[in-house]
Amino acid sequence: MHFLVLMRMVPDVIEELEIAPDGKSLDREALRLIASESDDHALEEALLLKERHGGRVTVVAPEAPEVDDLLYAAAAKGADRLVRLRGVNPGLGVPALAGSCVAALQSSAGLLPADLILTGAQTIEDLDGLIAPLVAFRLGLPYIGVVTAVTEIAEGKASVIKEFQAGYRGEFEIALPAVLGVQSAEKPPRYVPVAKVRAAMKSAKIEDVEVPQPVAQSLDGIEVLSMAKPEVAGRAEMLEGSPEEVAGKICELLAERGLL
């Protein structure tokens, strides 16, 4: 079995997000990037599947600052092949990015065939589409998103669990090869100690794959007019003081409403 995981770096929203002078984009210089959370879950699910069914895990990630850390961490967790896609411009534009990724997958680098292509269900900057259905569409493969488990792989098919709403889930059968948009893995992503990542840096190799005829990563049919902090009707009234003082104030509010 070959499990191919597509991973992306996204801004860490715990940090202050600075807007670029054009008022329409993020100041990418000032950003700290981290692996997109659901991509981490996609990797974990792939590793669990490798443990269960045998085979290998390839991680493919478009180049970005700190992407090497992501790839080495993946190796330390058990990924077998690490691929950095070169020639992809950072920024918004998911269909264009999907086009670049698919071109690289189909290139002579030997990334395909894969039985399952796994990636996150969504990133926090997917303004113009989700990458999993776009990759599936371009490769002509079946797709399902919001996946939380792959329960069985047999006879060219996989059984997957997907989330609906209000706690309802569904079990689906999907023909392989297929593309999954993973929401969360069956287990929380495994932790790797820094020492193991350091060891992976020495032993694992990152391959560069050039995107053939890079597609300009831009928005098509969408013009960004502005990017800013949200316009809000009313922000919270802030309560200040020591924990005891604030606790007292919250008690007042609850008492006024008959909740105490």
Partner: protein
């Protein structure tokens, strides 16, 4: 009709989802501004029985096809694309729920049309369509202009009140044939019912909600003590459930519960749109977060920039003292 505004209506267990009415309310405003008809697209079998609820639209287009009973993104996208090619709408509003997750992206891909995600508002400005979208977990918003048609809009919950999209009026109903792919490689085997929780959180008056900010499972005890003092229950955001600290039956948000308690105390929760849609209608929201920029403060009535781990015991103590 060519140039009309479309709202794709979503069915869930034989009922029309609230977000479809929200989308209809927004679609109505837009259609009136553009002076074009509003058409509701209702995919699925037996849709004629539901069409009468969609009087907010001028016309309901019933795509009554057995293959649309199952939430298969590829099938729904193909049917919508087929219909869009026949009738040339100007804009297609698609509810962004988990159910047919990915359908708006696929529809855009098939039609070669722009598909925006995370939209919370849409208007016509000088004849052009302008959408407002939430990015970065609610930390930023972007305004975008759609420069190609049809524009596919993945609409997030809360754009308009659902009631604004309900109407007693009887809409015109038209049956429309659609073609769907025959070699579908994805099939629903079964629905899995929600795990039964010990309590029904949607009936609780007081919810103490914890997020990743509580940092470890051990700290859950502080929340439980606080909930006990207040006479409420503990619930949480997705990462807390993914970590296995709380059961799925206590998750609030897009994939979990929608709650409307009298008090929602959000501790260490950032306020991502997928969480917010499950609790935004709570009567009183008090948020505690170490990050003064956390999006939850844009929604909460009261906010505290503090370490939740310090505030929880202090508040539990104060509540106990008051209750005597």
């Amino acid at each position: 009709m060519a140039g009309s505004v479309w709202v794709v209506v979503e069915q869930w267990q034989g009922q029309i989802n609230d977000i479809s009415f929200e989308a209809l309310a927004l679609g109505r405003e837009l259609a009136d501004a553009l002076q074009v008809p509003l058409e509701a697209i209702l995919p699925g079998p037996q849709c004629s029985t539901l069409a009468g609820q969609l009087g907010c639209a001028d016309t309901v287009l019933c795509a009554d096809h057995a293959a649309l009973a199952e939430p298969i993104p590829e099938v729904h996208a193909a049917a919508l694309a087929d219909l869009a090619r026949q009738r040339q709408p100007r804009v297609v509003l698609v509810p962004a729920t988990n159910n047919v997750w990915g359908v708006s992206t696929l529809l855009g891909a098939i039609l070669g049309a722009p598909a925006v995600n995370f939209a919370i508002d849409l208007k016509a400005s000088d004849g052009a369509l302008e959408a407002r979208c939430v990015l970065y977990g609610g930390k930023l918003e972007t305004r975008v202009r759609l420069t190609k048609e049809p524009a596919i809009i993945g609409l997030w919950p809360g754009a308009r009140p659902a009631d604004q999209g309900r109407s007693e009026r009887q809409p015109a109903v038209e049956q429309v044939p659609v073609s769907v792919p025959s070699d579908v490689r994805l099939r629903l085997k079964r629905y899995i019912e929600p795990e039964a929780g010990e309590v029904d959180l949607t009936r609780e008056d007081i919810l103490v909600a914890v997020g990743r900010g509580i940092q470890s499972k051990d700290n859950l005890e502080l929340a439980e003590e606080l909930a006990q003092a207040l006479g409420g229950e503990v619930c949480g955001s997705r990462p807390v459930v993914d970590q296995g600290w709380l059961p799925l039956s206590r998750q609030v948000g897009k994939s979990g519960l929608t709650v409307k308690p009298k008090l929602y105390l959000a501790l260490g929760i950032s306020g991502a749109p997928e969480h917010v849609e499950g609790m935004k209608n709570s009567a009183l929201i008090v948020a505690v977060n170490t990050d003064p920029q956390a999006p939850i403060f844009n929604l909460a009535h009261y906010g505290v920039v503090a370490d939740a781990l310090e505030l929880m015991p202090a508040l539990a103590e104060a509540v106990r003292a008051r209750k005597g």
